[in-house]
């Protein structure tokens, strides 16, 4: 077990699975609806290009083990992806049934069915390759590094993962909404992936602080940058330091890993209109806050968060204030935040003079993005950083010899499945590099 034990009473444990698990009958029926398309759009829409018709057919025939093998062969994080992928905008969104106005195949739920079985039965599919004597340093124990390390081990390269947090799994453990997946499941995945053996995980070590890149270069033959994104971006308005005002990602991490009490919180305001904001509003509702408002500077159509997520949030009773920004926070008698001063904007997002209002809030979550960590590597000669992102070619190679990158730190913040795809691709490039092919 690489993962640290989790508190069973942590706040996230009150959430139930949003998309339930299939029984065998349900899975077989749904699987048998799949048309077994040739060269289908669902596969193209999956960043890891899982052979979807093939894994689904194997469920239909009862070959669940073969189904899981097909999934994991393309995407070793298939278990978490099945739960956390926004399938409506990926594979399921492109299923040809949509064009027939027939409900599309529930690919994520079927993937969950097969991968959960694999975990439950402890099926193992992959072995480490013969030892090459080379080792690779991986920054961060998130999805990108895990996918990269697994692929490197299949090719026989040694791996050391440096993780600054005590917990492993990256945002899969500390960020994703608990109604999709809880931290214990993310921990299971880390154990499952690292079950291939030969991956050393060092937690509590921040590269750049406790260990330098020079030291990494001295110890290892290549470096994979998978450190994700940095802390929540701040609004920089008066009152932001009041107790009760949090960065959303920070707050979510606390909710996922620790006990927390929201007693006394009746009103919550989430600032932002992206997916983190959408998760945060639903999480606040799920934790028992009666009045939850999403405060977004644009209108509904301009929101960068997924519309299916917003629709679900609305069903759960969340309200929105469109075209308004927080310009300050008011303290209550107890010295904690009590309200959000809001300024209404016009269509060009310019303040409408005199149009201000106050929303009551004992909890404020600021979800306007995460900072980029490119600065960490900017000083390394050859590495290019663009708008905070580490620049890499399509295989993940950076401009510095022996340095590769994947996941949020490179793509600026996408999904777990993108991190999995990029981590795996980078491992292939690293392998080529280590064996003289790059």
């Amino acid at each position: 077990m690489v993962s640290t034990p989790l508190d069973p009473d942590r706040a996230e444990s009150v959430f139930a699975d949003f998309k339930g698990e299939y029984t065998r009958e349900q899975a077989t029926l749904e699987a048998s609806r799949c048309l077994y398309c040739s060269d289908p759009p669902c596969v193209k829409a999956c960043p890891t290009h899982i052979d979807i018709p093939q894994f689904i057919r194997k469920i239909a025939t009862g070959n669940v083990k073969g189904s899981a093998r097909t999934i994991f062969d393309a995407n070793i994080l298939g278990m978490s992806c099945a739960r956390v992928c926004p399938v409506e905008t990926l594979c399921v969104g492109d299923c040809v049934y949509n064009l027939m106005h027939v409900p599309p195949i529930q690919i994520g739920k079927l993937q969950r069915y097969a991968t959960d079985r694999a975990y439950a039965e402890q099926w193992r599919f992959f072995e480490a390759g013969a030892d090459t004597g080379k080792t690779v340093a991986l920054l961060g124990a998130g999805p990108a590094s895990l996918a990269c390390a697994h692929e490197l081990r299949r090719r026989g390269h040694g791996c050391t993962v440096y993780e600054k947090r005590p917990v492993v799994g990256g945002l899969n453990s500390t960020g994703v909404a608990p109604y999709k997946m809880k931290a214990d499941r993310a921990a299971d995945e880390v154990d499952w992936v690292l079950g291939i053996g030969g991956v050393e995980v060092v937690t509590g070590v921040e590269v750049g602080e406790q260990v330098s890149f020079q030291e990494l270069e001295a110890r290892h033959d290549a470096v994979f940058l998978g450190m994700g994104l940095g802390p929540d971006t701040r609004l920089r308005v008066p009152g932001e330091d009041l107790p009760g005002v949090h960065g959303a990602v920070d707050f979510i991490e606390e909710m996922k890993l620790t006990k927390m009490s929201l007693a006394g919180v009746r009103h919550a305001v989430v600032v932002g209109g992206g997916n983190t904001a959408l998760d945060a509003v639903r999480e606040a509702r799920g934790l028992g806050v009666t009045d939850v408002v999403m405060l977004y500077r644009g209108d509904e159509a301009a929101m960068s968060g997924y519309h299916h997520e917003w629709a679900a949030a609305r069903v759960e009773g969340v309200r929105a204030e469109w075209r308004a920004v927080a310009v300050g926070f008011e303290a209550g008698a107890d010295g904690r935040v009590a309200g959000v001063l809001c300024q209404r904007l016009d269509e060009k997002r310019q303040p409408i003079a005199g149009d201000t209002f106050t929303l009551p809030a004992e909890l404020v979550l600021v979800a306007i993005g995460q900072s980029k960590l490119g600065a960490l590597v900017q000083s390394l000669a050859g590495i290019e950083v663009h708008h905070g992102r580490v620049v890499a070619d399509e295989r993940g190679a950076t401009g510095r010899k022996g340095y590769f990158a994947g996941g949020d730190c490179r793509n600026g913040g996408k999904e777990v499945v993108n991190a999995a795809a990029e981590g795996k691709a980078a491992a292939q490039a690293i392998h080529a590099y280590l064996t003289g092919g790059l």
Binding site: T28, A31, S32, Y36, D39, P40, P41, V96, M100
Partner: protein, 423 residues
């Protein structure tokens, strides 16, 4: 309002839907409930010398998403006493004078046949059905399909039955023969008023792959059973049509085998059935399936202008011909409707791997394959695999060649169009 009443060799019923001789027609209570639900007739579960059944006796062929598209059984004839059966037949007939009650029979010796026929006729039943079809158990004892497979024996027993019976006699034929026609003709020579077909097909339904025993498993052993249900319909219809179109036969036929809805019934009637019998569908879903069968048949008759069932019986028989008479110059090609195509590429892979390699990716890059009409042989495979109804049509083309069948080509030296897709 079309007239659904049916007449099969003198056996009349208010509609052509009969319960086949099988578990649904095992007792008076069942048959009477079936009549209340709308069934026009019932062939009682076969009577004979009392038997003892095995416990585990049914098996099913299920495919993902569809349970029991095929069904098999290893049960024998009735296991209830003759006295009880006859009393219930009598009661049923009394209560339902207009419905057809047919007694199915299977015994061995001439004396037994004389005795059981007399008792059957005394119940007031409308007809008899001689079970020459059961393919398991009874045939090992020289009855059932053992009779149906020997035209001489079939003819002889039929002639006894006709001699002893004052009511119409149908002979129920077994499909476990290479050609059904001689067996139908034997029944006719024996004096039968009609035939029923098919009984079940010899089968092993499945194997328990963990225990290494076929199913249905009776302890550590199993045996071959009789196959029926939706999956057998094409086999049943071929046998039906083979007899229906034979000039020498010309007897009424009660069609059986895989009928599960009004559409199946219509097909059987168009191929020459005067009545249709159903077993498996009722076993799986109960008597009330008949409501839709009646409504569907009525509506079909209305839309096609059939005022009586009689006028419909055998309507498709004349167009069932020999391969040698088919027009080799008749040509179709596949056309994809771009408005309906969902881009699943099923047609393309089917044609590529399983047919004539004439459906290709769209040269414009659009997600809709294109048919190379100069190569398409018109085989229908793509239309069969396409999930969108009406998306692929098989369209006739005028190739300028006068019709020519193989027979006409051989006998009259007619001209054949050049072959397609034979590269």
């Amino acid at each position: 309002m079309p007239d659904l009443s049916s007449n099969t060799g003198g056996i009349r019923s208010p509609n052509p839907f009969w319960l086949a001789s099988a578990p649904p027609a095992n007792s008076g209570g069942q048959v009477q409930r079936a009549f209340d639900a709308g069934w026009g007739g019932a062939v009682w579960k076969t009577l004979g010398r009392p038997i003892q059944n095995v416990s585990s006796r049914f098996g099913a062929h299920s495919v993902a998403g569809a349970r029991a598209i095929g069904f098999n059984n290893i049960e024998l004839i009735t296991d209830r006493s003759l006295e009880i059966n006859f009393r219930e037949i009598y009661d049923t007939k009394k209560k339902y004078p207009k419905h057809a009650v047919i007694v199915s029979l299977m015994v061995e010796t001439r004396d037994e046949w004389r005795d059981i026929i007399k008792r059957s006729v005394d119940t007031g039943a409308d007809g008899l059905e001689l079970n020459f079809g059961c393919p398991h158990g009874m045939c090992e004892r020289g009855m059932g399909s053992a009779v149906g497979q020997e035209p001489k024996v079939n003819q002889e027993i039929t002639s006894w039955a006709v001699e002893y019976s004052s009511i119409p006699v149908l002979v129920k034929l077994t499909p476990n023969v290479s050609d059904i026609v001689p067996h139908g003709l034997a029944a006719k020579r024996g004096g039968a008023h009609g035939v029923s077909l098919i009984n079940t097909i010899k089968s092993i339904i499945s194997v328990d792959i963990d225990r290494f025993v076929p199913e249905p498993r009776v302890g550590g052993l199993s045996t071959n059973g009789g196959y029926c249900g939706q999956a057998v319909k094409p086999i049943a219809m071929h046998m039906l049509a083979a007899l229906a179109r034979d000039e020498r036969f010309r007897l009424p036929i009660s069609g059986i085998g895989g009928i599960s809805n009004w559409r199946d019934a219509v097909e059987f009637i168009l191929l020459g059935s005067s009545s249709v019998q159903v077993c498996t569908e009722v076993m799986l879903r109960g008597f009330r399936v008949v409501e839709d069968m009646i409504e569907g048949l009525e509506e079909y008759m209305r839309t096609h202008g059939f005022s009586t069932l009689e006028s419909m019986v055998g309507r498709a028989v004349p167009s069932y011909s020999e391969w040698g008479n088919l027009d080799l110059n008749y040509e179709t090609i596949a056309k994809i409707d771009p408005a309906l195509c969902i881009g699943c590429n099923k047609c393309m892979i089917a044609c590529e791997d399983g047919a004539h390699q004439c459906i290709h990716p769209n040269p414009t890059g659009a997600r809709m394959p294109v048919v190379d009409e100069s190569e398409c042989v018109g085989c229908n495979l793509c239309q069969i695999v396409c999930p969108v109804e009406g998306c692929i049509s098989m369209v006739g083309v005028d190739n300028g060649f006068a019709p020519s069948s193989w027979n006409q080509f051989v006998e009259e030296s007619r001209v054949l169009r050049p072959k397609k897709g034979a590269h």
